[in-house]
Symmetry: D2
Subunit: 289 residues, 4 copies
């Protein structure tokens, strides 16, 4: 019997960098949480404690800050720059993955005009980028997380099988609520990231709003399909949607009729629906995720 | 030596009620987290386990849901209705406090028009109301929490004393960032709550943006003063502002010059600045908080 | 109408200091989260941005680390040392409050013997100290938080009033579970802190286990009374106990009988029971909390 | 171009069941957080909203509670029972994964003896089981999470490469701290789960304590190897170890010498080290995770 090292990676997670651009009196802000993970020729550190090839995670953090001294641009570009650096400049690094969460800010309005240098956080939502670079290939994934949405009409759940343990009633009018995570993969790195992001997000939101839902799965698929139909540069999209249950409260013990208007928003348990929608001809992306 | 019961209260915390109003095809949503706390003649349950006067917390929860079957209106009104009910309908209850967090939602845009029945969470910010009712008096407090704001210019911190343990450098250009909690007390319950809230919030944000800050304390006072000057119905305001430190990253080891543009956003420790601004003639409000 | 500054305080919150004592080959560990809050003559910083009297929160942090270079001892002593320093060494500081959370660690067992230099976190529970110093008086509060306990027998809830909104059934056998916070105040600072803490904690736990509970309020009072009866140095104790509801699951739809053994542990809403137990002759402690 | 459905799964996450066994006057407690995820023939619900084959997540939750009415035993057995049920009783289900977190409790001591019916939560640590069943194969993974450990001696980090962005100093005496997640896969389901868990855990802790660490990666490998050497039934182990940085505080500005005893425990960023150790002859386990 031989014991051996299998898959492994390491890196610096959650370097929180805020980059203010002061090129003009009207400042710009970028607020990023950057995580780096490296894989490669790291057997010696595991087996012998030999760190000759181990780029310290402290160096990775420094690199993130140093690179942020140049204009950051879109997070996909910043992630590409970082990931390519680690793969190209260190022989031991066979694969670098850089994951970025971007927290959105908006200008504070003063007398109905956006302030030059004062901002407020906008929403719970984060924009995501995940870039994976190897010596001769690279993958870019964009997306969003923590986008909390709710439909008060146009959602049913009926026709499901019943067994000994089924007590759920069929419904043709329920609340559908979720905290969306959507991540989509591109076929190349020659993309207008800003447009892809805002249009992908728009397709997802409009589909959520317009789609008459017979199942959360159906809504998930419809959203994924809408993105793929609208954006040729996207070949695959993965969605994760917790079903945040809103239970109609039974008010009949109090002599009241709840016209499907009063709900208890429960925390746990919750449904969790996960799915992938992709093109038939999508290039292999197993290493992108 | 005698041992006795001192201050005490009990109640149901965090009943999460979502109220959809379906009066027309265009739905309205209210998303509230409601906490009830009752004080009064409850010595017997503490000393003897006699629950004759103890309104069960389960009943409190039911009451929240039942009252939500009527249109909710502004959260201050909903809290008043609930708090008055507990004080008026139960002899044992001498004081009822109802605290509400409201989570804001906006309509999802479809073809640039707000959807009738589809919503998304707006911001990390919550609107707050806290109502305290006793037999012959009541207090209303409104406010907001988790409003994250940042100034990239117009903030200094200089002229502080130095002792053996001081290493901080003076700065005339730092990032000022905080997660605001502001709560203000009214002199009466005859107030246009919606207007007071939105105008109070506006004064706070505009002052934060416009104010040249020599200290976070000064900014806190200026925001409180602005609300009191603009809103005659408000007699006291309390603000709590963590100083979310953004440290300029030293890039000189890498041969780079950080022109005060690249910052590390630290988690802990953080400064915590708390203060009250009030009118000289504010009626006593000790029991309101 | 005059607007003025009311109560205010500021300080550095959550300085997380880990102190290893290496006096012998068998190390000792102290893991503390220290928060400082100062009040006093700080009107000028609020009104004019004049920081002449403002001990920077950064200095407060440095002071915590510097003082930790000496042996820390019990957290009450460390908090006293820090709070006295701020009050005594800075004329502008009228009141200093130092709050410490201590995270407990135990030695990892190797061949059934505690390791000299390897530790693991013990429990979710924290030990607390809160010291408030003014020019001529000081108060010490000790306690614990996040001590999660559960009784599977010996808990009833019956005899409560019923109104239109009451649906709760009476029960003579329910699960009682809570996450305890208990904080007790001393009459002096000449106390064996370690013994008071461990004995106070023991009285609370034993009372929770032994007490036949007719109401969570009764259990709260019994625990407080037990501490006061056993510890002469304690004059007041405050307890906060969320009622972490465990609902018996109705298995009858599945043809099963739940013999009060299967429960759903709910998150929200929860009951929240808060109370104070004190000696009749307790000295005034309003400023201690 | 054709768009199609790719990998997908759905289920009920985080059903929190507490099971008290009252067979004797001395009760036993099991506290489990159970998540179910099903994959299989679910294209119709995605594409057409046809739910004929969709076992409702509500039914999955009911099933967890119903099965908990029988004695639960070890969590691996409980997960196997549930996962086999979903695969065997529903033709549409091709793969069922049941993941369980178990929260450990200990009896409260009363007069140095464990109480019959009163418990306290023990540690932040969770025990884990993850079972994946398909029609003709199944995989069992056990493990633990959130086990927070720290070494105050026996940890170095030296010999790493230096580039333009490296500022880290070499150290032969640092604090090593992590919050361990370890999960190991078995070659069969005929295992004494309780013994494998407690022995696996013991090997991990003893190795952490005893191992002289030249890199966190080396410690990770040593722990994995120790488990594989001691437990023949285990064929693969995956470990995830955030490097919870403890920075030595520079006290020299205060005229003090920090003898490597005072540390600042930082939150973010943190190193993240992940690795797999396995036997050469481990059967394929790609679907187990």
């Amino acid at each position: 019997m031989t014991i051996r090292l299998g898959d492994n990676q390491y890196g610096k997670a959650e370097t929180h960098v805020v980059r203010i651009t002061k090129a003009t009196d009207t400042h710009e802000i970028k607020d990023l949480n950057v995580s780096v993970a490296l894989a490669g020729d790291f057997a010696d550190t595991h087996l012998k404690g030999d760190n000759t090839k181990v780029v310290p995670t402290d160096t990775q953090k420094n690199t993130v800050f140093a690179f942020a001294n140049e204009p950051i641009g879109e997070i996909e570009d910043f992630a590409l720059k970082l990931a390519r650096h680690f793969v190209n400049d260190f022989e031991s690094v066979g694969r670098a993955r850089v994951t970025i969460e971007e927290f959105p800010w908006v200008r504070i309005n003063v007398a109905s005009k956006g302030a030059a240098n004062a901002f407020m956080r906008k929403g719970t939502e984060k924009r995501l980028a995940m870039v994976t670079c190897m010596r001769h290939s690279e993958w870019v994934v964009s997306g969003l997380a923590d986008l909390v949405v709710l439909k008060s009409a146009g959602s049913e759940f009926r026709g499901f099988p019943r067994d000994r343990y089924t007590t759920l009633e069929e419904t043709s009018d329920r609340i559908l609520a979720t905290s969306l995570m959507a991540r989509w993969r591109y076929t190349s790195a020659a993309v207008d990231w800003a447009e892809s992001y805002s249009e992908g997000r728009r397709m997802i939101l409009e589909t959520f709003a317009n789609h008459h839902s017979l199942a959360l799965q159906q809504t998930l698929y419809a959203m994924g399909e809408a993105v793929l139909e609208a954006r040729r540069e996207v070949c695959e999209i993965r969605l994760s949607m917790p079903n945040k249950h809103h239970f109609q409260v039974d008010l009949s013990p109090f002599g009241l009729k709840n016209e499907n208007e009063v709900f208890h928003a429960a925390d746990r348990p919750y449904g969790l629906i996960e799915g992938t929608v992709l093109r038939d001809d999508a290039p292999d992306g197993a290493l992108a995720w």
